[in-house]
Symmetry: C2
Subunit: 252 residues, 2 copies
Amino acid sequence: MAREIKLKLAPALKASCHTCSLSNLCLPLAVEENQLDRLEDIVEQGHIYNRGEHIFDQDTPFRSCLAVRSGAVKTSIITENGSEQVTGFFLPGELIGLDSLGGERYACTAKALERTSVCKFPTEKLEELTRAMPELQHHMYQLMSREIQGSHQLAMLLSKNSAEERIAALLLSLSSRFQRRRMSGTKFSLPMARSDIANFLGLAVETVSRVFTRFQNQGIIRTQGREVELLDMETLRGAIPESNRQSSRARP
Amino acid sequence: MAREIKLKLAPALKASCHTCSLSNLCLPLAVEENQLDRLEDIVEQGHIYNRGEHIFDQDTPFRSCLAVRSGAVKTSIITENGSEQVTGFFLPGELIGLDSLGGERYACTAKALERTSVCKFPTEKLEELTRAMPELQHHMYQLMSREIQGSHQLAMLLSKNSAEERIAALLLSLSSRFQRRRMSGTKFSLPMARSDIANFLGLAVETVSRVFTRFQNQGIIRTQGREVELLDMETLRGAIPESNRQSSRARP
DNA sequence: TACCCATATTGATTCCTGTCAAGCTTGTAC
DNA sequence: GTACAAGCTTGACAGGAATCAATATGGGTA
């Protein structure tokens, strides 16, 4: 039950898309400078969630797509028999809810992996706006089609690659995504638990753990809990068969 | 190199969306009767492909989304190292190319599994039309989000279920999709080869073969080459853990 | 500071499924 | 009608990862 904390921001503090540092990654990317106001008109900023809080729950009415502003989010689907499948990890600038767009209810559950701030784009207003702004509509189609492609890549990774290859691919994906966000691409902190990684990659937690230590013993990476340092990117890239070698998520 | 055969249709024969028997499955589903003309204005009908012919190729310029009119299509992505991943099978009324929408080039290759007829919706015109027709845009978003969901379901199937469960899920998916098309849901002919099934489900061909005979020995199905008859739907449904129990593709 | 529970690591064992290898079947082309 | 090739089935075997089990670590809290 997402106990949501709404910050009341003074008008002066109201961070706008104009000044947002993520504007080159997020939706504003597709919008002309002089049209940004229209996007700002519909966005709800300043929703904060603490680590572990649910941002929205599967099967509840679909209200908005949302962009991560800071922090990290994981999405997952949960089946009737209670088993969970992690469907994605989202970093600042990435858009959540595309798998629900056009539907009545959220197709997955979104959970904050750490203290996270999000911007919400109410669906109806977003759909309306995309009708008025061809570039924005085009961009939405592009984001969605890339999500489909990413999902296909994941399916390929799951069905054709070994545990080591899957984990290497995830590390490299995170690496390039962090880098694009002007953070280190070689030394970062994993926002998710081992069990989330395992679930996402279709492995047992024990296997994930084993591969991490194996990589460490081989001098490919260095880990200390959730802190990882990629020491030998080349070998890491070599571990995956030169497909699946893209950032796997929205690449604006 | 898709050697495409274009049929020149006499104006009188020009099958329209108005009279198409698939109009309750395909795009017309989202369009008011009196607006159907606008969709007909942009659709190119009567493209026929023979079994094995490529309908479009990965990385070639993305021109149109297309709807299967008759026959069956498989889509796949091919990596630099030449390995293939089948990403979907498409039956009449289903839309291909959503994973490329908004992009410059086709994200996958589409191949006719049998003699197949398709309708083409040129991208630019389609995007334009969706801007003019809110219900159509909404429907497009819905189709794409369902494609994402289906892909997530597939990922779950691949990462959590056994060979038997995966094959049972595919058979049930095909069953319900055939049924929705007013064909038998218990006795049908598989449009794809064992190797395609294997590739799609992340299995070896031999494993697919073995599971088919195992199911047959258990009296769950009967097979004769590509002909299958589902004898015990309940057991088949029981084979999959009551998730993944939807049609897995566009469910208009 | 010390405790506690969730998270992570390590070890031993089992088994599903891939791989290699060999027939078999079917459909098509000559 | 026959022959070939592609597709499919069956068997034997090995290996990677899951599972079961136990221990270690660490962050948060009293």
